[in-house]
Amino acid sequence: MSATLELKGISRHFGGLKVLQDVNLQIPQGGIFGLIGPNGAGKTTVFNLITGLLPPTAGVISFNGRDLAGRKPHEITRDGIARTFQNIRLFKEMSLLENVMVGMHAQLRYGNLGLLATSGLFRSEEKRARDRARELLSWMKLDHKADDTADNLSYGDQRKLELARALATEPKLLLLDEPVAGMNANEKTELMREIEQISGRGYTIFMIEHDMRFVMGLCQEIAVLNFGRIIAQGGPEAIRNDPQVIEAYLGREDDEPSSGPDGVTDGAPSAVAAGVVPTSVPVPGAQA
């Protein structure tokens, strides 16, 4: 498998804060790649660097062999990278259909002046966009709500709409930032199926996720980020048994035994201490 996205020696500092240090990742073509790590490990920063929202302090990001340095977010999107956001960012006052059609912006072939003159092309292109938008909504089983306002959707549906909108940019690589955050068990299972289907349609997927069951169930390969460094990479089984990963999530074995009911106190990263991932930590045999 050839690498479609490659991060080489990526660092990102915010003032004195070293959020990412010498991160190397290769996202292979096809399949689903996962990036996990405790809260504040720098996962979303990785996505912000890839999509051009932030420049890296050092290192090179290349996509299909092309260096992305200095390219603006909309150019990177047109190169074929789309993303969703951890905190959903829909166009809330627009309808579902319009939200998805915004994603098709760069694919409509009438120019800025052409839209005034050549009405035949304009009409056929708009129709194509509408049809494609409906198709993408139907992938997410949202087509019956196409004319509703995005703001009125349930939380789970908003996430799905964001996915449909990202697909509308016709990406080769899809970045998902915590796609199931805040979803209930049913919604998670449903979305898992939909992501599998999307992957089956040939999109390469790179996702950040906290939910271990979800990540372990979907991803062929997983990298673990902790304090800005990649500490492990491999298949789900290897990650689950990696002592460094267990340490990152649960703390060291030689930590003082805790007295509280949480089971974990000092020495452990905040994600576990704060109770964000307590029920889905990657202890061996935990997968359902």
Binding site: R89, F91, V102, G103, A106, N112, L115
Partner: protein, 288 residues
């Protein structure tokens, strides 16, 4: 027919004022619909008015040439000034554009030899016919209607709602903001040109801060959800002084109170399709 002639003799300026104010309201609607609070439209109107009037008076150009120049000059100025300022957001853009308006006014004041300084320009040929205003308004409406229902209109709205997300949909945010700004300037220039060739006289203070606020008020009052709002707002602000003639000295005050009430209680403006549908007890449907 005599009755109409009478009416026209008395009110023709008012009726044409409706059209010109509608153009001005539409010019600021364009930038507002792209999420920018740009307050330079009065200045662009002035640039257009002076450019066209000077051409007509000094070079005896055909009216159509003056109109074209009156639109092109503010558009070019908007392009040059938009380069550095459009990256500003919110009140900072408003401040920068307001300052620009003052610069324009003071430049006009101090270039006596060309612009007549504080005395303004006198004896501009009254070339504007009623149908010029009508054609201009219809043409602008047609263009804006087409824009609104194309990928550009969707891009404007997406930028208004979430600039970052819009960029990641493949939309060139900077270029679209520039387009809205330049086009708005051209429309304001058109209004200024028509107005100058109607009123015989123009002076620098016509295009100052007060006018800028007036233009903004028209759009906000009418509502910026569609093309109807700005026209409605323009009409009301044109007619209000006439209707309130009886209040004589209190006219401006009553004017202001009405505006405050509307902004407080109808924040989306008078023309809000969702609210109007609510009155008639129907739900859903499409917006204009």
């Amino acid at each position: 027919m005599a009755g109409f002639d009478n009416f026209w003799a008395v009110y023709s300026n008012l009726v044409l004022g409706l059209g010109i104010n509608a153009l001005l309201a539409l010019s600021i609607y364009l930038t507002l619909s792209c999420g920018m609070l740009a307050m330079a439209n009065a200045a662009f109107m002035g640039i257009g008015a002076y450019t066209a009037a000077l051409l007509t008076m000094n070079y005896d150009t055909p009216f159509i040439v003056s109109v074209a120049a009156g639109m092109a000059a503010p558009a070019v100025v908007a392009f040059v000034m938009g380069k550095p300022t459009l990256r500003l957001s919110g009140v900072y853009l408003a401040m920068a554009t307001l300052a620009f308006g003052e610069v324009v006014r003071i430049v006009v004041l101090n270039t006596d030899s060309i612009t007549g300084g504080a005395l303004g320009l006198n004896g501009i040929p009254q070339s504007t016919q009623w149908w010029h205003v009508l054609v201009a308004l219809l043409a602008v409406l047609a263009v804006l209607w087409r824009l609104r229902h194309s990928r550009i209109g969707r891009a404007f709205e997406a930028i208004k709602e979430d600039e970052t997300a819009a960029g990641l949909m493949g939309i060139d945010v900077g270029a679209h903001k520039m387009l809205a700004f330049v086009l708005g300037a051209a429309i304001a220039g058109l209004a200024g040109t028509l107005n100058a060739h109607l009123t015989f006289f123009i002076g620098p203070n016509e295009y100052g801060f007060d006018r800028g606020v007036d233009i903004l008020t028209m759009a906000i009052l009418g509502g910026i959800n569609g093309l109807t709002g700005p026209i409605l707002g323009g009409a009301i602000l044109t007619l209000l002084p006439e209707v309130l003639r009886g209040f004589a000295d209190f006219r401006l005050m009553v004017n202001g109170v009405i505006l405050v009430l509307i902004v407080l209680f109808l924040p989306k403006g008078l023309w809000d399709p969702a609210r109007i549908r609510g009155w008639f007890g129907t739900k859903g449907g499409k917006t204009a």
